[in-house]
């Protein structure tokens, strides 16, 4: 049970400050650019694209430099296995405990941060050309930087509270990015859909956090820190039997963000955003946030054994892990099947993302966090490359439908080659691609896991791998090979622009490097134990660092997946490239078409959610509305507030007029009356005045005389 024993918390001001810069630079440049956009709108001008684009890219490059410094310093200076660099400050204090605000540098967050910084920088660079001529260029970069900054914050957060804050920032900035072309109704509704679907998960996430807080509070160690929670579990203060339910709630958040079944409907719609946004969203930010969260809170659903073997707990606690795994498996299958029927190049990639996310979720559910993370890294790299390639194609033919493409190899050689590299990764082409090794690790993980019906799950995952190969090949053939089908009079495919080309090549090189790395680690690991234990074997090394070990790479395990992939590829080539009549007749069979319809409707999940939202949701809404109209508007507003305040106003009016005005006016009237009457005394007759004077003087004298007699004579 003891995993985190001997973990040491290090305070390193330099690394923490660098990490703060990683978050702050994109954040602040984003806000600054949005401020510039405000100026643009007010002054009805446009800053030069060179300026705003440079600020946008510079923000990310700043992050990348800091991230590079951090990743090298952390792994060189410290023993990543036992040492964590954590910088916390209290954020909200109460009598019961403190919500902290801090940064945690551990293997997962550091690797994720570097990956994100790298991919996001390339995508930003690509976007400077892709978005050329857009009226809201500044807004695009502002939001994109803000979005990336939010993801950095989420990745580096040391506790669930801070993670939640950045999680929400991610949600809102993704809303802005998906709805970037908001004048288009479909974009606006896609943004709304993404936001609402995510919101369901967010509520679950928040409740989960509150639940964990309550549990730790009862155990007299109130904390939301990942690190401290792990400690509490390893020293037995709280047990997994208490944590599996909050774990499930947190997974609810991941379902929304990572587009797992049944809340995957928003991800394909999110294609309404510009392509660089899709690339960022699908590779390393938004959808990976949910899975990254799972890898952070794995202690809530799996137990990690003393000999570094993650296993699913017994009893009720197994529910969460089982649910995560099986939802992952089903998501993988559904995503792949829907990708088969999609005709839009970006939608194919979107559903393939859903499918791959299912894969990763599946591996995380079995407790093989490092395997999930392994595939996450591969997927982030090749999926961002694929989206950027798709963007280049769309930029070139001005259509997203694959039926408008074909034969583009001649016009776009760079895109052709880079896309080939990316697709080979996605397919998991045997032995030469990164996708192959990470997917193999996933399949092994699911095969060896102890979830219920692991064999079935393994079979489904294998079938999914075949389908993935099929639709990827189909995408490739329909786009680049064969005869051109676009409107030749209007569309003239051109070479990809220089900056876009550079971005594609950088990412393709990254995929190749990863492929070589994974291959050396896995194949070389078979030959020499030294390589197997070194950093070359990424999977093993990562598992070692976070304290989990899975089954080692073995050639025999790869055979089913190789067969599935080859079958998928050959079927696709037979059907779409060589157009073998038998296979085409298969495709056009009545049953298949019916099935296609079901699949194209996304198995009715969207409809189900729609019905759920429209039925009970609208019913509850209508009740609330009636309550609002009758009770709040009718009684409280009309009767109590309106009539009551009118009456009150009436009374105070009366008081004012009769009371206060009366006193004031009365005083004035008296004075005026007195003055009016007194002036008649002034007759203007001097002798009269003299008479009065004499009379007054006489009176005064007599009084004084009387007083004189009283005081002196009588005494």
């Amino acid at each position: 049970m003891v995993v985190e024993e001997g973990i040491q918390v290090i305070e390193d001001k330099f690394l923490i400050n660098s990490a703060i810069l990683v978050i702050l630079i994109p954040f602040l440049t984003g806000i600054f650019l949005l401020f510039l956009r405000g100026l643009e709108i007010r002054n009805k001008t446009k800053f030069s694209e060179r300026l705003t684009g440079s600020i946008g890219v510079a923000g990310l490059l700043g992050s990348l430099i800091n991230a590079t410094i951090i990743i090298f310093t952390y792994f060189n200076k410290y023993d990543a296995k036992t040492q964590r660099v954590i910088g916390d400050t209290p954020f909200v204090s109460s009598a019961h405990g403190t919500f902290k605000w801090g940064i945690s540098l551990d293997p997962l967050s550091v690797i994720m941060m570097f990956l994100l910084a790298f991919i996001a920088s390339v995508i930003h660079f690509y976007a400077t050309e892709y978005m050329h001529g857009d009226t809201a260029y500044t807004r695009f970069f502002g939001t994109l930087n803000f979005f990336t900054g939010a993801m950095f914050g989420f990745v580096l957060a040391s506790n669930l509270f801070m993670a939640f804050v950045f999680w929400e920032l991610l949600g809102v900035s993704s809303y802005m990015l998906i709805g970037y072309y908001w004048p288009k109704a479909s974009a606006a509704s896609a943004a709304k859909k993404a936001f609402l679907y995510n919101k369901i998960g967010d509520v679950s996430f928040l409740v989960g956090i509150a639940y964990i807080w309550q549990i730790t509070l009862k155990a007299h160690h109130p904390t939301l820190d990942y690190h401290e929670l792990t400690n509490l579990i390893s020293n037995g203060t709280i047990s997994i039997n208490q944590l599996w339910f909050p774990g499930l709630l947190l997974f609810g958040g991941a379902i929304g963000k990572s587009a797992q079944l049944p809340l995957f409907g928003w991800l394909p719609e999110a294609m309404e955003g510009p392509t660089p946004v899709s690339a960022l969203l699908h590779s390393s930010t938004m959808v990976k946030a949910g899975l990254f969260l799972l890898s952070r809170i794995y202690f809530t659903f799996v137990t990690v054994g003393g000999h570094y073997e993650a296993f699913i707990p017994e009893g009720d606690a197994a529910l969460t892990a089982t649910l995560i795994t099986w939802l992952g498996v089903l998501t993988a299958l559904c995503g792949a099947l829907i990708a088969l029927t999609a005709t839009d190049i970006k939608k194919v990639l979107a559903f393939s993302t859903i499918s791959q996310l299912g894969y990763i979720g599946m591996a995380m559910g079995t407790g093989q966090i490092h395997v999930g993370f392994y595939h996450l890294v591969s997927h982030a790299t090749f999926k961002s490359l694929l989206f950027l390639c798709a963007g280049a194609v769309i930029h070139s033919v001005h259509s997203q439908e694959m039926k408008d493409m074909g034969g583009l190899k001649k016009y776009m050689p760079y895109t052709y080659w880079t896309m080939l590299i990316g697709l080979l990764g996605l397919v998991g082409f045997p032995f030469i691609t990164n996708g192959f090794y990470s997917k193999d690790a996933l399949l092994v993980a699911i095969k060896n896991s102890d979830i219920p019906l692991a064999g079935l799950a393994f079979t489904i995952a294998l079938i999914t791998a075949g389908i993935t190969a099929f639709y990827s090949s189909k995408l490739f053939i329909l786009t680049f090979l064969g005869t051109p089908r676009y409107d030749k009079d209007h569309v003239h495919p051109h070479k990809t622009g220089i900056r876009m080309r550079i971005a594609l090549i950088i990412l393709a090189i990254a995929v190749v490097i990863e492929s070589v790395w994974w291959a050396v680690g896995s194949i070389g690991g078979l030959a020499s134990e030294k390589i197997n234990k070194s950093f070359w074997n990424f999977e093993y090394r990562l598992g070692d660092l976070i304290g989990i070990h899975g089954a080692p790479f073995a050639l025999i395990d790869t055979i089913p997946s190789i067969l599935a992939v080859i079958l998928g590829i050959s079927l696709a080539f037979g059907m779409y490239f060589y157009q073998i009549p038998f296979l085409i007749s298969l495709k056009e069979g009545g049953f298949i078409i019916k099935l296609e319809n079901i699949i194209a409707n996304r198995f009715g999940f969207d409809k189900l959610i729609y019905v759920l939202a429209m039925g009970p949701g609208m019913w509850v809404g209508s009740k609330f509305r009636r309550f609002d109209e009758e009770v709040i508007d009718g009684f409280i507003i009309n009767t109590v507030i309106k009539d009551g305040s009118l009456k009150l106003a009436d009374y105070s009016n009366k008081l004012d007029q009769d009371g206060i005005d009366g006193v004031v006016n009365g005083l004035g009237d008296i004075t005026s009356e007195l003055g009016y009457n007194l002036r008649k005394v002034q007759t203007g007759q001097t002798s009269q005045y003299a008479r009065w004077m004499m009379f007054g003087l006489a009176l005064l004298l007599s009084i004084m005389t009387l007083l004189y007699f009283q005081t002196f004579t009588i005494k």
Binding site: R679, K680, Q682, G684, Q685, S687
Partner: protein
């Protein structure tokens, strides 16, 4: 020696006569003359009392207290002179403006009917 009561009686007669003149006369000049008579009645009373309280024990030596009444008389004569001068000036001015000095006919400072 004439008793002091006689002086006082004469003073009262003068004062009341002056007062009567002030209250009844309509010509401003007459009123001024009546005022002068009243002032001189007061002078007479001062002088009478100065004589009464004169220190008779030392007829050949004078002290300051022996002339107290005289001081008042001189001041009153000065005031009367100044008053007469101002009064005459005012009457002159009034005469120029109104063509007469009958005070019953001069009441422009009175509040007019509204």
């Amino acid at each position: 020696m004439i008793p002091v009561e006689w002086f006082l009686t004469l003073s009262v007669v003068m004062f009341v006569g002056g007062l009567f003149g002030v209250l009844t006369q309509k010509n401003a000049m007459r009123i001024l003359i009546s005022v002068e008579i009243m002032l001189n009645a007061a002078n007479l009373a001062f002088m009478a009392f100065n004589g009464v309280f004169y220190n008779a024990d030392f007829p050949n030596s004078f002290s300051a207290s022996d002339f107290e009444g005289w001081v008042f008389v001189f001041i009153i004569i000065g005031v009367a002179a100044a008053e007469a001068a101002i009064g005459l000036a005012i009457f002159l001015s009034v005469y120029r403006n109104f063509g007469e000095i009958q005070i019953t006919n001069i009441f422009t400072l009175k509040e007019q009917e509204v």
